[in-house]
């Protein structure tokens, strides 16, 4: 049985599907018996869903328009 520390250390690779198959299986066995690591995994996945939604971080109002105006002014010089 691998330790919680080991699972947490591998967490990111596991989420990204980068862990090798043997380790992956060991992690899955661990997760079935460890509520603590399961919660960390589940909440990390939720975190990624939240930030992965493109519009969640805002750009300042009027940004696109100012970008456009500045570009057109500079290329027409």
């Amino acid at each position: 049985m691998i330790s919680c520390e080991h699972v947490i250390h591998e967490l990111s690779s596991y989420i990204d599907g980068d862990s090798d198959p043997e380790l992956r299986q060991a992690i899955e066995r661990h997760l079935r018996g460890c509520r603590r690591c399961s919660v960390v995994l589940d909440s990390t996945r939720k975190l990624l869903l939240i930030y992965g939604d493109e519009d969640v971080l805002e750009v300042p109002a009027g940004y696109f328009e100012r970008l456009r105006t500045s570009f057109l002014a500079r290329v027409s010089r």
Binding site: S12, V39, K46, L47, Y51, E54, E58, L67, V75
Partner: protein, 216 residues
């Protein structure tokens, strides 16, 4: 006609993109804005992840778009337009940062000691987060601030990988670090953000209660 070999810069480009490229080459400069429009938001966010300042990030975004236009002939593959633009944005932002700090010798890749692994301490379940919650101004503020509290190197990697969805290799190239550095920083960024945001998203007694009720 369709069997003509494609120029390198247009490999894998959609017909729409090819039309835009052709018009830009023919001198319709305004078309460049259409070409980069899908990435304009990313450019700003990446610049801001380095500068943490709206005005500076916006100026860097403007500079980035202009520079990219000037160097369009250096873009080898239109398929990598996004990471190419973001790389220019990173370079412009770093330059501005150096200027702002007036310490041209400060290394931007300064390591923060190889701290021992941090074990998660916030162990409450997170609730399901409906999109209406994410649309709330307050929630967005929490997300923005949590990101700002990350050490700069973690923040930049997280933004490129988990917000902008660049591949590990692309993120490494954009930031000028190795893929294994990207991997390590991303891991720490995720754990730290999770820890930081747990109080915002953890299940509250109200959620637990309603879950109980819906079962009965």
């Amino acid at each position: 006609m369709t069997t003509d070999p494609q120029p390198v810069a247009a490999s894998g480009a959609s017909p729409e993109t090819e039309r835009l490229l052709a018009r830009i080459r023919a001198g319709e400069k305004g078309c460049f804005l259409e070409l980069i429009q899908p990435y304009a938001r990313s450019i700003y966010l990446v610049a801001n992840s380095i500068l943490k300042n709206r005005e500076d990030a916006e100026e860097v975004a403007q500079e980035t778009v202009f520079r990219a236009f000037q160097r369009l002939d250096q873009l080898r593959d239109i398929g990598s337009l996004k990471s190419w633009l973001l790389q220019i944005a990173v370079n412009e932002a770093r330059q501005r940062l150096r200027h702002r700090q007036r310490h041209p010798c400060v290394s931007l890749d300064e390591e923060f000691g190889d701290e021992a692994q941090v074990m998660p301490r916030q162990l409450a379940d997170w609730r399901e987060i409906p999109s209406v919650t994410l649309e709330r101004k307050e929630t967005r503020e929490h997300l923005r601030r949590a990101l700002e509290r990350l050490p700069p190197h973690y923040r930049q990697v997280f933004l490129l990988r988990d917000v902008q969805h660049l591949a590990e290799k692309e993120a490494a190239q954009v930031l000028g670090v190795s893929a294994s550095t990207v991997k390590m920083r991303l891991h720490r960024a995720r754990l730290q953000l999770r820890e930081d945001l747990a109080p915002v998203f953890r299940k509250r007694w109200k959620d637990r209660l309603s879950a109980l009720w819906s079962k009965s």
